[in-house]
Structures are given as structure tokens and as C-alpha cells.
Amino acid sequence: MPPARRPSLVDVALQNGALAAADQQERIKRLGQIRSIDKLFRILTRACALAVLGILGAVLLSLFFGAWPALSTFGLNFFVTESWNPVTEKFGALPAIYGTLVTSTIAMLIALPVGLFIAIFLTELCPIWLRRPVGIAIELLAGIPSIIYGIWGFFVFAPFLQTTLQPFLVDSFGNIPLLSTLFAGPPYGIGIMTAGLILAIMVLPFITSISRDVFETVPPVLKEAAYGMGCTTWEVFWNVSLPYTRVGVIGGFMLALGRALGETMAVTFVIGNAHRISGSLLAPGTTISATIANEFTEAVSDLYTSSLIALGLILFFITFVVLAVARILLAQIERRAGS
């Protein structure tokens, strides 16, 4: 079959001219549709982005309104009162705030050095092929849900501490003036110290992975110069890597601290839920989150519920500030790594 005659340019022009009117109409309609779809999509995505800000605002507002009855009843005394009595409806946040701060302090005191040393291992010592598996294994610690830490802490870790570490601490420090108050009393197993130790394990991966990431931003030429001068691995880390990444390490520390402050279920299992301030680390105590988790569904009166929400507001405020500082510091090091 011979090929069909190809239309000449004139034909096409004529044809187009004839179709132009209808075509043009169709075209304008389609373009309009596309334009409005585009506009709609833009508005939709923008609304979703703003919804993220809306969530923060809504959380703050709703907590504030929920907490208002308690805050207006107790005023500033709420923050410094030790009693927590649902029967007489006298509520004070001090034991919970104290417990939150002390458990987090214990956690950070342990997790910071251990996390940094693991990061040194991962960036300096570990053979390349082993880096990823070990890094992932440490990060899996962060993936384990907090309820698992709770049940493990309650049934395995607390009895373990009760029979090993805690009697040892009581025996060794019982006669030293200051330390004897810290480690006073019978080893219950559950208490402030156990909660602090579990928190330490839980935040360890955050410190490790962020420190490792920021250590990797150190320009090799800096480290090589130090090695070239005969520095040891430790000296390179201490005098070059750490000063260079200080901001990032502090950022990772704050991020982990924010996690530790707000951690709920693991602490709830092992803290003992006692609303009192005890000088001893072995004694049971409570934290803000554990109090809310334990008592919220049992709170019958409005003032009780409101006091618990006020605790939540305090917790949100503290963690917000800590996390905000963490993010600002980490953004600084990210900018430097980018430039």
C-alpha cells in the first residue's frame, strides 16, 4: 500500500483554522481547570502545613483551659506544695517536678558519657563493615516501645537491682556522710534510681546517633593534621573533634533530655508512684508523666482532673523549652556542615 499523502502545511493551517474556534474554547476551559486544580492543591498543602502550627496552638490552649481551675485555685503555690491529697483536694506539683528532674538527671549523667564513648567507637575504632550493624543495633534500643522497657524494668531489672546493685550501694556508702542519705533505706528495687537507669538506656541511642552524625561532619583534614602531629586517637577526639562539634553534641544532649523528661510508661512501671520528696535515690517517688498516667482515669473531681492537666501543662512547657534549645543548636551545626 502506498503511504497516505502527507498533509501539506497549508492543509494543516486551514484545518486548524476551521477547528480553532472550538479547540480554543476547549483549551481555555482545560487550562482554567488545571489552573484551579493547581491553586486548590497549593491551598490544601498550605493548610496542612499550617495545621502543624495549629496542633501546637491547640495543645497549648486546651491544656491551659483544662489547667485553669487548678492554677486559679492554688496559684503559684501549686509549684511549691509537696502534698498531693485527692481526699482533701490539696494538690501540689513539687514531688512530681522533683522526681522528673532527678530521674532525668541520673539518666543524663549515665547516658552522656556512655553515648559519647559509643560514638567514638563507631567513628574511630569500629571497622567499616561493622559500623552499620552496630549503629543500627544501638538505634534499635530507641525503637523498642516504652511499655516494653516498663514491663522489663518491673519484672526483670528492678528485682535484679534489688538483689545486686542496690545492696552494694547501701553497704558501701552507708557510712559516708553525704552519700548515706542518697543511698538510704531498704532496697525496694523500684524507685527513683531504677527509673533513672532505665531512662538512661532509653535515651542512650539518641545521644549516640546524633554525636556520631556530628562527629562525621568534622573535616578529615583537621583530624589528619592532628594525627600528623602525633596525636593519639583520644587526643584527636578531645582536642579536635569535640571542640569542633560541641554545639551539636549539646544539641543531642538536650534532645535526649527532652525525651527523658517526657517519658511515661517505662517510668510509671518502676517509680513506685509515691508523692513525696525523699533524699534517698532508692526510695519510691513519682514523675509528672507517671502521675498523669497512673491517676488520670481515677480522678473523680474536676479539681483533681484539672490539677493533673496542670501537671501536663508544666511538662509540656519544660520539654518545649528544652527541645527548642536542642533544635536551635542542631540547626547551627547543620548550617555549618552545609556551607
Partner: protein, 279 residues
């Protein structure tokens, strides 16, 4: 010579400590997983997946909390993923250089690590209290609030990795922006976005605190979203702290199931996102 020895000793000590720290960290993982297997594996049987939670002293399974968890997790992902994905899309595509994007990123990063119990309180205030009763829907919404920041972060990160030349090529062909996003950007970033959703599922499937006073718990079979709904983590919490041996061993079994699911999800997510390091 003395100085040299001192420096060398200090270095050896530091390196030994970093070995020890790594062993210490890995030790906890082994310790926890070992305890879970030891206490939970013996309880795994078919009846765990086919029977309801028992009253104290009787045999039973975890069917109703398993189903409750599945429903609430699925619903949370259905609610949270589109919102998070669109928000991330705006930040990476339309509003990449806008001030508001930086603000949203900052707030989102804070929400990412905000205490989940506070989210529970928030949903209690805005849903449970006005409705007058606890409900599975409230639980799902609470979990959705936790899903959103994870998906926002991963979507934005992944879309920022898509080379601009791809977008420019598509725009040069006359493709409208929305089509470029849907057909070019999303397609290029698909693996990363799926990873983000998986990580979000891993995160919420073990969450207990936000469910305690939103979905509450239910001893019985319930798929009614308007009524209290059981969930695996809350049942574990309740059973583990109970004085009954049967309940405690069911709690261990449930804990083992959750851990396996969560670890499997995070490992799959890591494989999908292999070339990128996670933050």
C-alpha cells in the same frame, strides 16, 4: 618518655572505655530481647490470636486488643498520613523559601519528640470531654497527632532530595505545578515517603500513654469506634501490673508480639531507606 607513656596509657584507657560502652549498650538490647523471649515465647500459641482477653484465673488470648490496636493504628495512619504528606509537600515544593516553612519545620521537630502523654491529655480535652465518653475514635486521633510530625519530616526530607532538574524539565514541558508534584516529585521520593509512614506505624504501635485516657480499654470484643476500645499496649499495662499470674504471662506474650512487630517494621524501613542515614 614519662609523658609519652602517660599519653599512651590515657589513649588505651579511652579506647577500652569506648569498647566497654558499646558492649554495655548492646548488652541492654540483648538483655531486654532475651527477657522478652524467655518470658513471652512460651505463651505464644494459636489461642493468643483467636481468643478474647480472659477474666482473672482463666485461659484466654489477646484477640480483642490485637484487633483494637490494628483498627486504631490503621485509622491513625489514614488520618495522619495525608495531612503530614501535604504539609511536607508544601514545605518542600511551594513554600521552600518562605519564612513560614522554617517556622513549621521548627515546631514540627519539637512535636516529633514532645511527650506523648500530653497528646493524650490534649485529645481528652478536645474529644473525650465534649463527647462525654472514651472512644476508639479519640484513641485513633491521638495516635494520628503522633503520626503527623513523623510523616511531615520524612516527606519534606525526601522531596528536598529530588533533583530540581527533574522538576524544571517537567515544568518546561508545560506541566502545571500540581502535576509535577504528583507525577514527578512523589514518584521520585516514593520509597522515602513509604519509609516515613512505616516508621510512624512503628512509633505508634507501641504507644500506650496517649491511649490511656482516650480509647481507655475494653475487656470485651469491640469494633465500635464510638465506644472504649482495647489496645495491646494498654492491656499489657493493665495485665502486667495485676496480681494474677495468667494475666502477667499474657502481658509478656503481648509485649513480645509488639516488640517483634516494631523491630520488623523499623528494619524494613531501614532497608527501604538504605542509602540515606537516618537522623
Amino acid at each position: 618518655m614519662a609523658l609519652y607513656d602517660k599519653r599512651r596509657r590515657r589513649n588505651t584507657l579511652a579506647m577500652a572505655l569506648s569498647f566497654a560502652a558499646t558492649a554495655f549498650g548492646l548488652g541492654w538490647l540483648v538483655f531486654i530481647l532475651g527477657a522478652l523471649l524467655w518470658n513471652g515465647a512460651s505463651g505464644i500459641s494459636l489461642s493468643v490470636f483467636t481468643e478474647m482477653t480472659p477474666p482473672p484465673g482463666a485461659a484466654g488470648g489477646l484477640l480483642n486488643p490485637l484487633v483494637g490496636s490494628l483498627i486504631m493504628t490503621a485509622l491513625a495512619v489514614l488520618i495522619g498520613t495525608p495531612i503530614g504528606m501535604f504539609a511536607g509537600t508544601y514545605m518542600a515544593e511551594y513554600g521552600r523559601y518562605e519564612k513560614v516553612t522554617r517556622l513549621v519545620r521548627f515546631i514540627n521537630d519539637i512535636l516529633l519528640s514532645a511527650p506523648s502523654i500530653v497528646v493524650g491529655l490534649f485529645i481528652y480535652e478536645v474529644m473525650v470531654a465534649p463527647m462525654g465518653h472514651f472512644s476508639g475514635l479519640a484513641g485513633a486521633v491521638a495516635l494520628a497527632v503522633l503520626v503527623i510530625p513523623v510523616v511531615v519530616r520524612s516527606t519534606e526530607d525526601m522531596l528536598l532530595l529530588v533533583p530540581n532538574s527533574l522538576r524544571e524539565a517537567a515544568l518546561a514541558l508545560g506541566m502545571p505545578r500540581a502535576h509535577v508534584i504528583a507525577h514527578i516529585s512523589y514518584r521520585a521520593a516514593r520509597a522515602g515517603i513509604v519509609t516515613g509512614v512505616l516508621l510512624a506505624v512503628a512509633r505508634i504501635s507501641g504507644e500506650t500513654a496517649p491511649l490511656l485516657f482516650t480509647a481507655l480499654n475494653n475487656q470485651f470484643w469491640s469494633v465500635n469506634l464510638n465506644a472504649p476500645m482495647p489496645s495491646l499496649p494498654v492491656v499489657i499495662f493493665q495485665f502486667a501490673l495485676s496480681p494474677y499470674k495468667d494475666w502477667q504471662s499474657l502481658a509478656w506474650t503481648g509485649a513480645l508480639i509488639i516488640t517483634l512487630v516494631v523491630l520488623a517494621l523499623s528494619i524494613i524501613a531501614r532497608i527501604l531507606a538504605a542509602p540515606r542515614r537516618s537522623s
